[in-house]
Symmetry: C2
Subunit: 175 residues, 2 copies
């Protein structure tokens, strides 16, 4: 019993140390994407708005695209390519009609954010992500990384179809 | 001529003074709503996201709803009624298909923010706006207030149809 107890304590200490290191650099090493090692940036929910969109079809979501300070500055000054350190966060929710709003408006017109679907993070690092045009990708559901390599490999494949002038970024700034 | 010149200078000085006073308190007195005297809050475009929506029908817009720090704290702590000083900003853009995105996705699925339509501001002041449930309203197009009394009077009439538990606010927090 005592051996297991000591081993358990050692494991717990190692876990705590890892946690503390993760907190120190703001990144949870156990929660980063395959291929790119992209984590959920601390405080991303509080970032400023780049734009909004509705994706119909199989996704059927409504989404907001947020940027950290470096990305927002690049958007607002039309700087391309984006500087290293730019991070873009795409938050999506189920696209649902609002029965409450529609009853008040007297017609079917209002679609709002339902349950969250996933969060996608794009990080610009022209050295680390040179093989994918300078951007690394990650997808998160309920705060946990999606570990699928097949999924993450669809990101660059699709973004790479954009005109080079867009620096692999879909969203335009909504003034 | 000199009399007109002096009068012109005096008027210009008065205009400049008004401008400086307006800058000092962050509100442009010449650009506030009828009935409520609500202005465009400085920096509102940088505020945090409460939620997103698509209004179909005659409006046909896509929108993001932002909050100042007081409103965000109230949303995140589910505090109702909202405390005085809460401000909610609703930014809307034309709801337009993205030909670029759809070509890349291989199907018609992507709707994005086109040209801005208008910005609506709701300010909570339970004393100043006691007659309208504690909220004052303003609508702005291209940064200028819409002076229509008829329009502004539709705001409270519609918000007042919400359940009392919502404190006259349509948008729910999107997690």
């Amino acid at each position: 019993m005592s051996v297991w107890y000591i081993r358990g304590t050692a494991l717990a200490s190692a876990f705590l140390m890892t946690g503390l290191i993760a907190i120190a650099d703001g990144n949870d090493a156990s929660n980063t994407s395959p291929v790119y090692d992209v984590g959920l940036p601390p405080g991303y929910r509080d970032w400023q708005v780049i734009g909004v969109a509705h994706e119909a079809g199989a996704l059927n979501d409504i989404r907001v695209i947020l940027g950290n300070d470096i990305a927002m500055k690049a958007y607002r000054s039309a700087t391309r390519p984006f500087p290293d350190g730019s991070i873009i966060a795409r938050l999506a929710w189920k696209y649902v009609p609002s029965a409450e709003n529609n009853a008040i408006f007297g017609q079917q017109q209002s679609f709002v954010a339902g349950d969250p679907t996933n969060v996608q993070i794009d990080v610009k690092d022209s050295t680390k992500y040179a093989a994918s045009g300078g951007w690394g990708y990650g997808q998160f559901e309920n705060g946990r990384v999606n570990p699928s390599v097949d999924l993450i490999n669809t990101c660059f494949a699709c973004h790479d179809r954009l005109p080079k002038s867009e620096d692999l970024v879909f969203t335009r700034y909504a003034p």
